[in-house]
């Protein structure tokens, strides 16, 4: 078990190396002049004419062979210098770290109801196979699965913002933002809801929740479908097992057998999918954050990608690869808790 987890961990440097090569290759497809823009502190810098541009290309070594430039770049990264993000106008690592709590907050708030809903709906659908609850759940999930996130998100804005004015976009209202940025408000974690509670400020807490509601509902609905399907399939399979029939035969009530004997074992395949789903959400609530103007990693990544802000894109790529590996590791470690058989193998 531990061996397997270690091998997974060893994959990380290889993945990161290949990833860095890939992004660097993309970056090198631009001309030295275009790449120079990343080094220029302000646009005026590039207005010095051909001569000064040539001199700067020389100075930053943008005409050097591929491997020398790559070495210089990777050397910076290894010493913890992820580079400067033009989009954020701050170092990439600072930008990523300041945005991470916002995304984590959103993802956790959406993932928990998503998981509970998937377990509930999936096991219900399996138990009532081909009867009306199964059909209703199937339609509900396949609709959510087919809904483009941006269409669903815009619908949410149309109803809950434009018409009802309940859930505004952004992370905080103007007044709340003023309070949060003031020196009286201590930023413990960077997650608005938690910080508000720790500061004992319920008004801020309420405001943060109001802004989180719409993206949370969107993410939950769009992501619940695939997990529900896995849960249903796996529930169907466990319900067919001999030990379930034995439990029924010895006279246990149907509900006890279904919920305690079958559902528990049906959770196993869900754990894998849920871990993947969580990892993908952590690295890619790009559209949701963009629509609701929620300043998190996803929105940042989308901006940097559209601007070809390569240092930031690579930083985000590194972050995502680490999240994937860590999530896989967590799933591997949770597995023996769910299924004692795994430990003995």
């Amino acid at each position: 078990m531990l061996n397997y987890a270690l091998r997974r961990l060893m994959m990380l440097p290889i993945v990161l190396f290949a990833l860095s090569l890939m992004i660097f290759a993309l970056q090198m497809s631009l001309s030295p002049t275009q790449r120079l823009a990343a080094y220029a502190p302000s646009p005026d810098y590039l207005k010095g004419g051909q001569e000064s541009i040539r001199r700067m290309i020389e100075q930053y070594g943008l005409n050097d062979p591929f491997y020398i430039q790559y070495g210089r770049w990777i050397g910076g990264i290894l010493t913890g210098n992820l580079g400067w993000s033009e989009t954020a106008r701050q170092p990439v690592s600072t930008a990523l770290m300041s945005l991470f709590p916002a995304t984590l907050e959103l993802v956790v708030l959406a993932f928990v109801p998503c998981l509970l809903l998937a377990v509930f709906l999936g096991s219900r659908a399996g138990i009532y196979l081909n009867r009306w609850p199964d059909h209703v759940i199937r339609i509900f999930t396949i609709l959510g699965w087919s809904f483009p996130v941006y269409v669903f998100g815009l619908l949410m804005l149309l109803i809950f913002y434009s018409a009802l004015d309940w859930f505004p976009p952004g992370r905080l209202s103007q007044w709340a933002q003023t309070v949060v940025s003031s020196s009286d408000f201590v930023r413990y974690t960077g997650a608005n809801t938690i910080d508000a509670l720790l500061n004992g400020n319920l008004a801020i807490f309420g405001d943060a929740l109001r802004h989180l509601a719409a993206p949370v509902i969107t993410l939950t609905y769009v992501n619940v479908a695939s997990m529900t399907r896995v849960m249903r399939t796996s529930m169907l399979e466990t319900l067919r097992q001999d030990y379930v029939r034995t439990a029924r035969a010895k006279g246990l009530p149907r509900r006890v057998v279904e919920l305690r004997h079958a559902r528990r074992n049906a959770l196993l395949p869900l754990a894998t999918i849920a871990g993947m789903e969580l990892a993908v959400m952590m690295g890619g609530v790009v559209i949701t954050e963009t629509i609701f103007d929620y300043a998190g990693l996803g929105q940042f990544a989308a901006k940097t990608a559209a601007n070809l802000d390569f240092p930031a894109v690579l930083g985000f790529g590194l972050y995502f690869a680490v999240v994937l590996v860590v999530m896989n590791l967590i799933v591997d470690l949770i597995y023996p808790l769910l299924d004692p058989r795994v430990k003995t193998q």
């Binding site: 396949i142 434009s162 690295g283």
Partner: protein, 290 residues
Amino acid sequence: MKFLRYLARNPVSLFGVVILLAFVLIAVFAPVLAPPQSFQLSPYDTPRAGFLATPQPPSPEAVFGTTQGQYDIFYGVVWGTRTAFKIGLGVVAISVLIGTVVGAVAAYYGGVIEEVLMRIVDVFMAVPFLIAAMVLTALLGKGIVPITIALTTFGWMSYARIVRSEILRIREMDYIHAARSYGASDLRLIVLHILPNAMFPVLVLATMATGSMVLSASALSFLGVGTEEGYADWGQFIAYSRNWIVGQPGNPFQFWYTLAFPGAAVFLFVLSWNLVGDALRDMLDPRHAH
């Protein structure tokens, strides 16, 4: 035949097939439904009625209304169907091809080659899909060819995995041993005997992926790196609606048509592919049989 019998028993799946056929008809008869004007350079350039900034509601001239900048929504939705089919089918066909070749080569040669190929698959899997596709599209420029290239580059991996594992599974089956004992070469075995049987799971995956690739493509347009301004593409039209979600005071749904028509088009298109893919999986996977 089996498919038709299945459809008769599953009205929801039948619904999916009907919508999909409707989209095919819309795509085929686009020049009849929304005839391009003679001055248009390409039928995919949506004609505009003036340059007024505010969207205009449905009227006899523009039955679905117009977007900001007066692009005709009906025209965009109709010709956008062709765009959706081109991107969806194009991306999936090329991805299946690449994935099949990589998966088959990995399974056939095994050893170091297999190890290297599958690690490359792992690396591509560790890339954030949408962001990577955005970067590549931004580098390659606007249009459906860059979109197709970008989505293919980061979307072929799951086919390679499935093809490889299917080949490894089928290779050990009796009829393959029988064919080998007749003296069939390895290549002949793979291409004629193994691959055709490995294609069912690929077909299911490809059907479902067609919908989600169209989703991703319109997401790219929505995020601003997809097609050119005014190109008949659903994502582009939904992006136009973004500034008009909030109506005037007292009339919150004033600009509903800017979102409703292109939004419904993407939704129904993806829904139909998902329903068809779901039906195929149900039929082909014995575990789902009831």
